[in-house]
């Protein structure tokens, strides 16, 4: 008999998600889907608010990456008032962003992904968590805590608090610069952060070498890639042009300005998920679907400006033998290489003499009726777009979050894994774990993706060809 398996909630991702797997009469997987269902309604309830409130309001979309929303929003506000951001303010914002990458990538690797990598997919769930990791490799676990703390401390020093900070060096919230004492304190810690990320890269590389066949086969598929690059085409996280490449790493579109995103990106809607599916307009859906985030960024950039991360990136590129690295598990490797870059970049920023220059930026009048702000969030490209009236009142808001861009890819990954590992007749713990692990590669932030929608626990449902739910595995939460 045909079944649907539901995994709910998917654990150790940010937020909750639900997966349904449809199997045919022969017990083979015919389709797997990841659903998102929660309703918060940011795009609508922000209408009528004043644009300069948005950096504080939109960071509440997500408690994991509030800095990303804060900065994308701040940049959209800059565009509305036509602000040329002074160099020191730009450095402060970028430093805060690097703090965010350090803490977010550390959180994902050490708290969320390492149980799979260190303990294996089939380990007892009682120990397959961060506590188990502490037992298996206490030194690594402590490094994880330390890295996270450092990143959070960067954010706190610049923004007052770790979650929902309020600085961002913007006309909407520029309040305090970086004091010489705080700069010194951060400089004292940064070498250790760089070193710890180097070790983390070594650990993930070691895992990849030991599990070569798994790495190359697990949720591996071609896709387009999107992300920001700097003027030289190198990895860029804070400010640059958008690059959109096809599966062969040939440009689908010449690099374009973030403000032009609507010309090139459309959003497809499926009736079974609240989360939309972005795609490259010229190719349509699903031919124009692409991935974002660490794997995409390392695939599409032409280099990395900092030496240690650049060396690792070269080895990473070699894995693709000239083409793209397509395996979803390689997100983990790409993520730690990016963490290393963020640490090195933070060190450069802290050494810049302009970083302690304090100046007041005042909020000018509305100059442009619309503003776009784009940053690379830890999970991928984040787009904020606001339309305002002459008094600065918001008339329309459009947000495309990182996890949204990866919506198609996550579904594809779940499909790949379900087909390879799920036997329709039985639900095993290891199979559930693998489906979860596929999703976890993308480090989906379901708070972000449900900014418009509500709760999203991952339920695994076994569904017959007729769509009837035959079995369901829900782990609390649901």
């Amino acid at each position: 008999m045909a079944n649907t398996i539901t995994i709910e909630p998917v654990t150790r991702i940010e937020g909750h998600a639900k997966v349904t797997i449809r199997v045919d009469d022969a017990g083979k997987v015919s389709e797997a889907r990841m659903h998102v269902n929660e309703f918060r309604g940011f795009e609508k309830f922000c209408e009528g608010r004043l644009f300069f409130e948005m950096p504080l309001i939109t960071q509440r979309i997500c408690g994991i990456c509030p800095v990303s929303h804060h900065l994308a929003s701040t940049k959209a506000c800059d565009a509305i008032v036509g602000l040329e951001v002074p160099r020191p303010a730009g450095l402060l914002r970028e430093l805060m962003h690097m703090g965010q990458f350090i803490q977010s990538h550390a959180l994902h690797l050490f708290h969320l992904a390492s149980p799979d990598l260190l303990l294996g997919f089939d380990a007892d769930p009682a120990i397959r968590n961060v506590v188990g990791v502490i037992g298996a490799n206490p030194e690594l676990a402590l490094k994880g805590v330390g890295l996270r703390k450092y990143g959070q401390e960067v954010i706190r020093k610049l923004g007052g608090k770790r979650i929902h900070p309020f600085d961002g060096a913007s006309p909407t919230s520029m309040n305090k610069g970086l004091s010489a004492a705080d700069r010194e304190e951060l400089r004292r810690g940064i070498d250790r952060v760089v070193g710890d990320f180097q070790q983390a890269v070594a650990v993930v590389k070691g895992y990849a070498a030991q599990n070569e066949s798994l790495m190359s086969s697990f949720a591996t598929f071609p896709s387009g890639y999107m992300g920001l690059v700097d003027g030289k085409g190198q990895l860029e996280l804070y400010d640059g042009r958008i690059r959109l490449l096809g599966p062969d790493l040939k440009p689908w579109e010449p690099d374009f300005a973030p403000a032009d995103y609507l010309k090139h990106i459309g959003e497809h809607v499926e009736d079974w998920s609240y989360l939309k599916f972005p795609f490259y307009r010229k190719l349509g859906y699903p031919a124009g679907t692409y991935r974002v985030g660490p794997l995409a960024r390392l695939n599409l950039c032409r280099g990395i400006s900092t030496p240690l991360a650049r060396a690792e990136w070269k080895q990473f590129k070699a894995l693709g033998s000239g083409g793209a690295v397509e395996g979803s598990l390689f997100f983990h490797l790409a993520r730690v290489i990016e963490g290393l870059f963020a640490a090195e970049r933070a060190r450069e920023l802290l050494d810049d003499s302009d970083i302690t220059v304090s100046e007041t930026i005042t909020l000018g009048p509305v100059k442009n009726a619309a503003g776009v702000g784009v940053v690379e969030a830890p999970r991928g490209t984040l787009i904020h777009n606001y339309w305002v009236d002459e008094n600065g009142r918001l008339e329309k808001v459009n947000l495309i979050v990182s996890t949204g861009h990866n919506n198609w890819a996550m579904n594809r990954a779940v499909n790949e894994v379900a087909k390879a590992f799920v036997d329709g007749s039985r639900l095993t713990e290891g199979m559930l774990n693998r489906v979860e692990a596929a999703i976890r590669c993308y480090d989906p932030c379901l708070s972000c993706s449900t900014h418009a929608i509500g709760q999203m626990p991952l339920v695994l449902e076994l569904e017959g060809p007729d769509g009837r739910v035959m079995d369901r595995k829900a782990r609390g939460g649901g």
Binding site: F42, T450, G477
Partner: protein, 267 residues
């Protein structure tokens, strides 16, 4: 009275952490207790915490920490089961305590919302309102803030373990500001600071960064919102602006909601 099953064999309280519609920030505040996290995990039994671990222990739980507001029919059902499962139910953060930022939609037409954002609005199963947990079940204790102060979570657990009342102040933010020696944003800068009607607990974070308080800890005990509103009008702010200031992260909690409705009418 706590049930015996709410404690482990060695006497540790079983603690559950739940998420409703929210941003995860308050749960994350628990993980942010780096220096105290191991102490905390040693003193309690984390029985249910989806974000941190797969394993779960069956209810009852001695303490339930709830993040997020009730926004979907499914959540409306789930909170009643959670109430039965937890002996001491604590809301953590503005969403759970007052409805949070998404409660702004309570002043609008939700159907219009979903039509706007989604191609298949009929598929969206959202309630018309985003409401605090206490609108559905009895809540034993509230921790305020957007996000919560992680040390208040620690204090709550420590106090519960010691069998005493948590030392969570209910007075105004001004008292924290003055203790800390932060210059008054309202008096010395003419900024519309909500501190005089907002509950302390954050440590005067915003004023210390030269920002007016925007009330993320919600109303203090006996908030005199009208008097502060009159002061803002004296500073040149319009009733519409005051309405907007009150309707933010705690806009749907009674004293702020009522005052904002009055100012909205004056507009």
């Amino acid at each position: 009275m706590p049930r015996t099953g709410a404690f482990t064999a060695d006497g540790k309280p079983k603690v559950a952490v739940y998420k409703f519609s929210s941003c995860d920030g308050c749960q994350l505040a628990i993980l942010n207790l780096e220096d105290q996290l191991l102490d905390l995990v040693g003193a309690i039994e984390v029985a249910y915490f989806v974000e941190a671990r797969r394993r779960e222990l069956p209810p009852p739980y001695a303490i339930g920490l709830v993040e997020g507001s009730v926004s979907t029919p499914e959540e409306e059902e789930r909170i009643h089961k959670i109430r039965r499962d937890c002996d001491f139910l604590v809301t953590i953060g503005a969403c759970a305590t007052s409805g949070g930022i998404q409660a702004l939609r309570n002043w609008a037409d939700v159907e219009e919302f979903t039509r706007y954002v989604y191609a298949y609005p009929e598929y969206i199963k959202a309630l018309d309102t985003a409401t605090p947990i206490a609108a559905h079940v009895f809540v034993d204790f509230e921790l305020r803030g957007c996000p919560v102060n992680r040390f208040q979570i620690l204090e709550l657990v420590a106090a519960t373990l010691a069998g005493r009342k948590p030392a969570i102040p209910t007075y105004s933010l001004c008292i924290e500001c003055k203790r800390r020696g932060v210059s008054c944003r309202l008096v010395s800068a003419g900024k519309p600071c909500l501190g005089p009607v907002t509950q302390a607990g954050c440590g005067a974070l915003c004023p210390a960064y030269n920002r007016a308080c925007y009330g993320c800890f919600g109303p203090m005990e006996l908030p005199n919102v009208d008097s502060l509103g009159e002061r803002f009008i004296g500073l040149g702010y319009s009733p519409a602006e005051i309405t907007r200031m009150l309707r933010s992260f705690n806009g749907y909690v009674e004293p702020f909601k009522q005052a904002s409705d009055r100012y909205a009418q004056r507009d």
